[in-house]
């Protein structure tokens, strides 16, 4: 029996069995992208039958090479649900790609007939040596070619068209945040970046610029884009340490901040309680801290492509497909047909810093999702209320790019809240005022907040110098309707307020050094004395 089965296995197509085993769950048994897991996967799995592929080395409108597909199977696509299948042997990878090609055989036949198969590889040439001048030129190309319309003035995916983008499946899709190179789907090497805007990413709004921008300029553009970030995500810091200053900075522009070390903390969507957040809108924060022994100042920064005030109409949020866009509606005639959904509304952007209540012990960290009844947390929460003042674009952006510039500034107050779990949050009436300021600049928020180390409320965190104080960060992207527990949070990390250096340490150190020197000298002398005596001892014993 098993011999027959083995024989059958050998006969059956290696590609098909591999596909059924590893691919069909998402990409569907018919290759149409309708697998059992499809509805949980975003971006959606590729529908192979259309022959539309994002990551190709071939010209716009053409099919990928076998090697392009093999690369995707082997390496996966970072930032998506497509994992690496490097554990498969090369023969299996080749076989499964051949099998996948069968799903779009009709498209291959069409292109063969029209002379476009085998597909033509997009011309790449040789990457140039990256210089500062090339990067500067690349930035000019970036702004002049309209890249900022979607990717934003500084590349943080905050361009004026960014939030309206839809892919071929009519799902919302954000442009790449060019300051997060480790999230680039197609890779962060110079050639990867060059290839992405040369071939275009089919099925997405990312067009091919092969005919529009000369190759030299495209290399400059690639250099600029690459220069904005690194290819690997920074390692999470263990703590943010606050050095001591004589006086805390008044504002976030104070040069005192320049010397403060920056900590990097990754964030993830809250997944413990429904509604869970599968698509985290904020994926990391950077934090700096300073203290003057009576108060602490924290400076937190995070990327958010949308500046969202509660109740605003979401750009691109309305379902345009079903909306005729009539100005005058004759209810009797058209009301039923419209089925018009009200335009989606956004929620407020928010940020919160979470501490254990009271005097925290480093090894006692409350439940991460806003504590619980026995271990409550203190939240310092800022809610975007629309009070920040819009800033005018500076002269450098005025010439033709003012619409790409989004800047808001202002002083804000944060509420001090006691949370005993995600549904039991109360603002503390006896809470200490939390003074802060916010600066939103081209897709990035900066929030500075100061508070006295100790307060009168036992529900609030008491910050002791020299201790490891558990700290956790929450961020909500209002445009994605993130709110309440459906936000993004970090793990527990530590805030450490550095201790003042004890002046007696200098005296003690000097004294110890002096003593050591004396001892050393004595030891050397003793050693010398004994070595001088040695020969006579030897002679004595010999006689």
């Amino acid at each position: 029996m098993s011999a027959i089965l083995f024989f059958f296995m050998l006969q059956s197509d290696l590609g098909a069995t591999t596909y059924d085993k590893y691919c069909a769950q998402c990409h569907g048994e018919q290759g149409d992208g309708q697998g059992i897991a499809t509805e949980f996967v975003m971006p959606r799995p590729r529908n192979f039958t259309t022959g539309v592929f994002k990551f190709r080395s071939t010209q716009s409108g053409q099919l990928p090479l076998e090697s392009d597909l093999e690369k995707v199977v082997r390496e996966g696509i970072r930032g998506t649900s497509m994992p690496s299948f490097a554990q498969l042997g090369e023969s299996e990878i080749k076989a499964v790609v051949a099998h996948i090609q069968g799903y779009y055989q009709a498209v291959i036949d069409r292109d063969k007939e029209e002379g476009f198969y085998p597909p033509k590889v997009a011309e790449m040439g040789n990457p140039p040596k990256v210089t500062d001048a090339l990067i500067t030129h690349g930035r000019e190309v970036y702004l002049q070619s309209g890249c900022g319309d979607c990717h934003g003035y500084e590349g943080r995916a905050d361009g004026p068209s960014s939030l309206t983008l839809k892919d071929d499946y009519d799902e919302s899709i954000l442009p790449a945040n060019l300051n997060r190179g480790w999230e680039f789907r197609a890779g962060h090497e110079l050639t990867d970046i060059f290839r992405a805007f040369t071939t275009g990413l089919s099925g997405t709004p990312m067009a091919s610029f092969a005919d529009a921008i000369p190759a030299d300029d495209r290399w400059a553009l690639a250099s600029y884009v690459q220069s904005l970030s690194v290819g690997e995500e920074p390692t999470a810091s263990a703590q943010v340490s606050a050095s001591i200053v004589d006086q805390l900075p008044e504002s976030m522009d104070d040069p005192l901040w320049d010397s403060a070390p920056e900590a990097y903390f990754p964030l993830t969507g809250q997944m413990m309680w429904a509604p869970v957040n599968h698509q985290p809108g904020v994926r990391s924060v950077t934090v700096k801290a300073l203290h003057d022994q009576s108060s602490v100042a924290l400076l937190v920064s995070w990327d958010d492509p949308s500046f969202s005030v509660a109740g605003a109409e979401a750009p691109g949020g309305a379902d345009e497909e079903d909306d005729w866009g009539f100005e005058t509606e004759e209810e009797d005639d058209f009301g039923d047909f419209f089925d018009e959904e009200p335009a989606a509304q956004v929620d407020a952007d928010q940020f919160a810093i979470q501490f254990p209540s009271g005097f925290p012990a480093p090894n006692e960290r409350p439940y991460i999702v806003m504590g619980d009844g026995s271990n409550p947390v203190n939240l310092w929460r800022w809610v975007q209320d629309g009070s920040l003042a819009s800033q005018q674009a500076p002269a450098e952006a005025q010439s033709g790019h003012a619409n790409l510039w989004t800047e808001y500034k202002g002083n804000v107050s944060l509420s001090s809240e006691l949370a005993k779990g995600r549904n039991q949050i109360s603002a503390l009436s006896d809470g200490t005022p939390l003074k802060g300021s916010v600066h939103y600049l081209n897709g990035r928020y900066h929030l500075m907040v100061t508070r006295t180390l100790l307060t009168d409320s036992e529900d609030e965190v008491q910050l002791e110098v020299g201790k490891f104080l558990p700290i956790l960060f929450w961020a909500w992207d209002g445009h994605r309707n993130e709110k309440e527990a459906m936000g993004n949070l970090s793990a527990w990390f530590f805030l450490r307020l550095e201790q003042p250096v004890d002046r007696s340490v200098y005296v003690k150190t000097a004294g110890a050094a002096f003593l050591t020197a004396i001892l050393l000298l004595w030891a050397i002398r003793a050693a010398r004395d004994s070595s001088r005596q040695e020969p006579s001892e030897v002679v004595e014993s010999a006689t």
Binding site: E114, G146, G200, S202, F326
Partner: protein, 232 residues
Amino acid sequence: MKLTAFLLVFLSITSLAGEITGVVKWDGNAPKMKPLKMDADPVCSAAYSGGEMARAETLVLGEGNTMAHIFVRISKGLPDKKWPTPSEPAEMDQKGCMYSPHVVGVMVDQDFKFVNSDDTLHNVNVKATVNRGFNLGMPTSMRESMQKFSREELMIEVKCNVHPWMKSYIGVSSHPFFAVTGEDGKYTISGLDAGTYEVEVWHEKLGTQTQSVTIGQDESKSLDFSFSMPSK
């Protein structure tokens, strides 16, 4: 002499073949489209400074509720033959951050010219399914792009992702017997031999309608259509 030759050719075209003409009308109240918001790109809104903003072209009605942007073509009854491809390209301009015209017909293998007259980036996302789809970035450094469609496809949606209100349609026909109505709702399909034809009209939201008509040699017949808001 030349004039005679011209007249002969002219007459041969106009009189030696049949013709179908007609008007497409909207039956019901005439709603007006909302003005488009183009603030996101100042180049777009500047194109309308001082005047009225452009409106979506989903429903464009003329005097007497005549319908523009209706793609009309012979869908049945033509002999099975290959028709010559016009040497002049069909054209679609991007002007004032609108496609002009909103609906264009082109023959298989005829040149198709995309033009960008705006001083801003457009991308021409041609969502073909029968033909090879493509997505062409057209920054200001690229004013024109010549393309071709090698298969019949009715209709291809064209979108600009940078300016999400921009949408248009291309009808790729295997024969030259098609037309797109203007604001007067009128269409003319000429050069037809005697026979029975099915005429199909297409609207982007209301779908297609067909009617049959029989014309004699050199006969001209009129065939009107009307669309209305379907009851749900």
